[in-house]
Symmetry: D3
Subunit: 317 residues, 6 copies
């Protein structure tokens, strides 16, 4: 396919794109038309459908993958497409990963790594619990592997939730060696499960937006509840172990003002909070730094709200 | 019985008291003895058991109700009892309410009132849910009727949780009239259920202290989970209604720093937060004001940490 | 009259509207014209006076009620009027309530209710004080009945100050029953008087904006001073009662950062603070919810700065 | 007289001291006695009256100046007096300044300086207003000259209020030269009047404690009201000038959290806030530094809550 | 020269201006042109270079002083120049102070004053240290005399750093008289040196922007280090005196959140903090007030972020 | 030697202990005596020298190592020694590590590890800089190896500074693998140097207390300055690299309120901040958890100020 970033003034387009946005408008003289935004993984393109009721224009909605036919011109300095024909594409006629931002890590590999980590959890109850999510619950697995870890800021791509989960878990694994007072199985289980509520908080791609439940309840409380439900189905699961595990989930944002209803009271909860915070901030910074064009490398990038500072890349000494 | 507040130097005591605290100590010359604190609803009394291994001293633990026999003397300005005989009392040999602070409102009456409120909730799912707690779950009912609403500060007496729940619910009832945009059934259900997690957060009297689960998970999250569990047993319960109800519970402290993982997003959640905050503060102030002795009435009572101000009672104009 | 919300492209207008805004501008070729905004209670309309010096155009200023004659066209998607003739309307030629947002409650009824509340205050000094404002001071009464309770956010309509005062007073009345330790007469007097400083803080409609004194001194301090002045004219008014009443006014915002120079030190001051806060927040939410169009009902309304949360209406279960 | 700081074990005392505190107590065997604290400007001394009902013991209360006769012994490392006779002293039999901390500056000189400053205020209305307080109102003048500027921390001595007022006014005078945009007469008037509410907020010596009005209303609001009352008695006093002056008083603490109901909106209010803050902090530090004994000079003095830091004196380089 | 504020529609221009900004753009039909902003001390002027490649257009960059030839027209209500010829001006062909905002105080006079203050510092080590900066280090002197004290807000003009330094030092001089516990030489030295790090933090005019070091290290730390370096070159400089002096620099912002790594622990550090804060705020307010046009004098100027209040000028009573 | 934790009532002691504290006191009848606290690495012991002027009592001061001869008795429940003879011990007569808390890790091994890390820094300037501290500066090395990382809370033992430095550096090493956008040499250098200012901030054992410079300047600023000094002695050290390195030191506390004058602006500064924060918190928690006696293992340990929560150890599942 022809990626949006490669289009030039004067080009014809006849390819499948994701319709990110569609709204009806009216010209000055009252003629209806459509404002449309097309998307692929390289960017977005404004488009107009001047004859929305003409023959070649099928019914379509935002978030549909659509075949579009038209030409590209320049308007007020930016590229813009006029679309003459539109056809909704069917599953299989396009490769979703062409249209969505995806993790730089291979999804299958990440999942294999994650399963390997589960095997290191020897406590039989925790091991069973982890498998009830990551091995046995196919609907959950599918969602978990595809979701982002956030709407924006960091890991906001397909596979982002799994990538973040793995990164946090690896950090926790490192901690268990550096600080032997930690309970390995509790911490690794908590880190693998810490963000599972996000499969209910954020809708799947291409929307990747907060759900109703996400806004009302949040991933912290939903994740804790999901764990309780599955653990209760394991007869011999010790209630106190469940409470400790749920506590780690509830406290993993570390501070009340970040939405945790409890501050870390267990060393494992503290460790999870450190690992989650470290990966969130380091990954955000990594994504900013790796997107830098050459000429931006030595320059200040402006005030960054998350880091409350103007930021720039260090030199290549 | 002879209340602790009525004892004088030189009195004999032979009555049942609650043993609030018991610890073994040693005299300078190495003889073991017991330090004991006796409690009834009027106060506490230090006591010593100088011959812990003598015949008349039965095995007993803290939180037992015990018959004690001994005399009262004065040591370093305070009353103190020397106990010669101790016998553990059996259920029925004492009236617990003699030993514990109790709500000034009759427990049966409050429960009757609460059941009447449930009848005003016409939505069948919410009505069923309320009944599954307050009418059908006997273990829950027993705990709910006996618990305090807090370890200290306000409503820290037997029946306090029910009294607070009723007061908040009545305020919410008032709001539904003053602000008709409120959904009556959702708000009243939320107010009746808002603190039910406290039956797991605070242990029953006489301990009345935070439980392990209370400290790890907190009543907000546990209450939300308890509701989810019962609601899922009602087949037709709309998931979105459940989410809205859980949201009201999660947000009822109003601010992250007070332990709510969500800020009120629904008008009903806001109303519940207002009512809970109002009753907590007004009841605290009421309890302070109604305990004032005559000579304290016109005086400043000193800096109060909760209200961040020196406080005093207004004149009787 | 023809309301602005009923106007269409192509209509002629010849009616009285409030001139909310008027400013002289110049066309590219240097011809002067007027930009004018017309207002009635249903909305606003941009208008142009292309020939400001022609015969039919009388002198007029912003905040005048004016007869306008012209036609309505559409420019850049919005309606716009071209005005050919303008005449200032005299008192009596229009009904102000057609042009201003008004309380949904009848002004006379609210005033009757308020007078009835005053009769429940039995303390003769407080009763006299209330009457010196609400019964005897005609200028004050007129202002109090017409003012809004705020420039924006909540109760920002004619009668809003009285509506808010009544709502707060009714909440306080409810509290006096729920928390008998409260001094009824002190609390009800304080609630009736708590916002009277707003008649000096916010100018009358149609301006409804902060006055110079409002910005320099604020309604809290001005209200307290107004009460002191009238109370000193009642010879037997006890100075300590006056101090307690003024304290309730000064502390009714509850926190320093909300402009109260004192935190509540009396139970009545605390109660007034709770009631004021409850009505301010609940009324704001009510106004948002009752303005919702049908299609907005189930949707999230976006981040609300006051409530620090995205908000939405609960379902109609 | 013999100052408390000069007393030794074994001394007889027969002098007038201020009775700072008096309370009845009981010995172990039930005999009543008095615990008394004697004070002069050099310190305090614990004393006992073992025979409170003996002939030579006249009626006396705390805050009385009393002749005491007895001897000094040492108990648990500290000096203690046993008093055999007590007689209430009459005005004229003692010099109050021997018993109270006093400003290091001569009271008459400060008052003369203050009157001279008033003469530099040329605006006739402000000049009249200042004189109505500082020249004509004898009761006010007496209180103003004797009061402290604070219960503790800084200027907590007789004359402290006047000393602080002068120091702030002199700083403001300096500002009028350094920043010519300031209105001299408004600023100097505001600085002279900024703390006059303290004559109602803090009771006179020897109590020097917060009054009921002080706690309910505070010196900021009371001072503003006192100014309004006197200004209204000057017929031609411009209301807007009064509002600006009151604003300076209301805003002089600079921040809501320090009890100002308004933030400085006028340059003069800002200047007054800067001057008040500077003198309060610098005088506090001065008092700490000038009390240092020789051996303390190079040492750290421990964490100081006001300055949120461990503090020490700089070297004498 | 013809100042920008004096230009009118239709004028020809042929004068030297500072090119504040230059960027290449493209017309709709793809023709390149330059957008340029010209600046002098009276304001800025938008300009277009429609034929950037024509003969008369020399190479130039932003921050160059350039001769421009063209005419002034009006576009969308604002003046705009079309430039036909451009030539880079050489040093000497223009007077920089015509193009840059400059302190209202004469630079030489300020420097003379500053040298006079140094003579009042009698401690030989401090005196030597001050001279090593302000008398002997020519590069430093040149920068110090030309720099602003801030990028925006206050003293953001040529000579601003020296003007602010002098104002703070004079305030400190005043304090040494009002609070004799202060060490004069330490305080005056600290005030003279407190902002010297700004010569490395902010680049010289016309850029007047934060440097790389300024953003990474800040003027507080750099100033402290500069002092340490020069002091170490004075053999007998007492290390403890150096630490006290560096402390004053480090603590002069007074609070951690304003970038001070230490809170004032010495009275001299506190005094410097008070003086710096006073001059920063008073000068900011002065600059706002002195720029007021006549018609703005009685009006509210809108919410000011620094002062967290709507502000206005007091009346001329 | 006989450790303090092994002493019992009735024992004789004749061993070297560290005299942690010594102060002269007086018995009731005026006889002078010494209160002394003896310390070894297992704890402290109160001791009295009743005959301070007797022959066998040599001159000694607090922080001396002293031979003491006497007996142990029990007073008010605690052990106490009466000392008859005291002699100051000389270097070599005792092993300091018997008296001071020491890191659980071997000092030589840690130093060897640290030197190995330096070899992984390939940038020649950074490598030289690190060696100028850790290989070449013997006085620095000695202090660095012996110092604690804090007065209390965590790593407050001999070798603590090196142990913390290594732990932070290893975390950073891990980060360089997990987040390849990091500059390895800059980050590892910064982590090795981040707390070197503590050798000037905290005095050596046994005092282990804040120095004068520590309180005035702090380890952050002093460390930054120490780096600058050594780097300037390396002729080709790039100034911009030095600024980036100093920035990492200055920003490593992450927030202004924790004493950092800059927030992290470079990814390496952010990483160092994460690692420092993680090790400080995890090590604190580790030290608390590893000190738990068996019976404390399942129990809540009470509110912990640092973690703002009641804490307990997780179960051994």
């Amino acid at each position: 396919m022809r990626y949006i970033s490669d289009l030039n003034e004067g080009d014809n387009i006849s390819d499948v794109y994701l319709c990110k946005y569609k709204v009806q408008a009216e010209t000055r003289n009252g003629k209806p038309y459509f404002n449309v935004i097309l998307q692929d993984k390289t960017g977005t393109l404004d488009a107009k459908v001047w004859e929305p009721n003409s023959d070649g224009i099928a019914d379509f909605d935002s978030m549909d993958y659509i075949y579009v036919f038209g030409d590209v011109s320049r308007y007020q300095g930016a590229l813009q497409a006029s679309l003459r024909r539109i056809k909704v594409a069917r599953d299989g006629e396009y490769i979703p990963s062409d249209y969505l931002p995806v993790s730089p890590f291979n999804n299958d590999n990440m999942y294999t790594d994650l399963k390997a980590v589960i095997e290191t959890v020897k406590n039989p109850n925790l091991n069973k619990l982890l498998k009830s999510f990551f091995i046995e619950d196919e609907e959950f697995i599918k969602a978990f592997r595809m979701r982002s870890a956030a709407k924006t800021i960091h890991h906001s791509f397909v596979g982002g939730l799994m990538q973040h989960t793995l990164a946090v878990t690896r950090l926790c694994k490192y901690y268990t060696k550096a600080y032997p007072a930690l309970n390995h199985d509790l911490l690794i289980s908590a880190s693998l499960l810490h963000d599972i509520g996000k499969v209910r908080e954020i809708s799947g791609f291409p929307q990747n937006d907060y759900t109703d439940d996400g806004q009302l309840l949040g991933h912290i409380v939903m994740g804790s509840e999901m764990i309780a439900e599955k653990a209760r189905a394991i007869p011999e699961f010790p209630p106190k172990l469940l409470s400790e595990l749920q506590h780690c989930i509830l406290a993993h944002h570390g501070e009340y003002e970040f939405g945790s209803p409890k501050k870390p009271a267990l060393m494992e909860a503290l460790a999870l909070n450190m690992a989650d915070n470290t990966d969130a901030k380091m990954e955000t910074m990594s994504e900013i730094m790796s997107e830098l064009t050459v000429e931006k490398k030595g320059q200040w990038l402006g005030y960054n709200k998350l880091f409350e500072s103007n930021i720039r890349k260090a030199g290549d000494w």
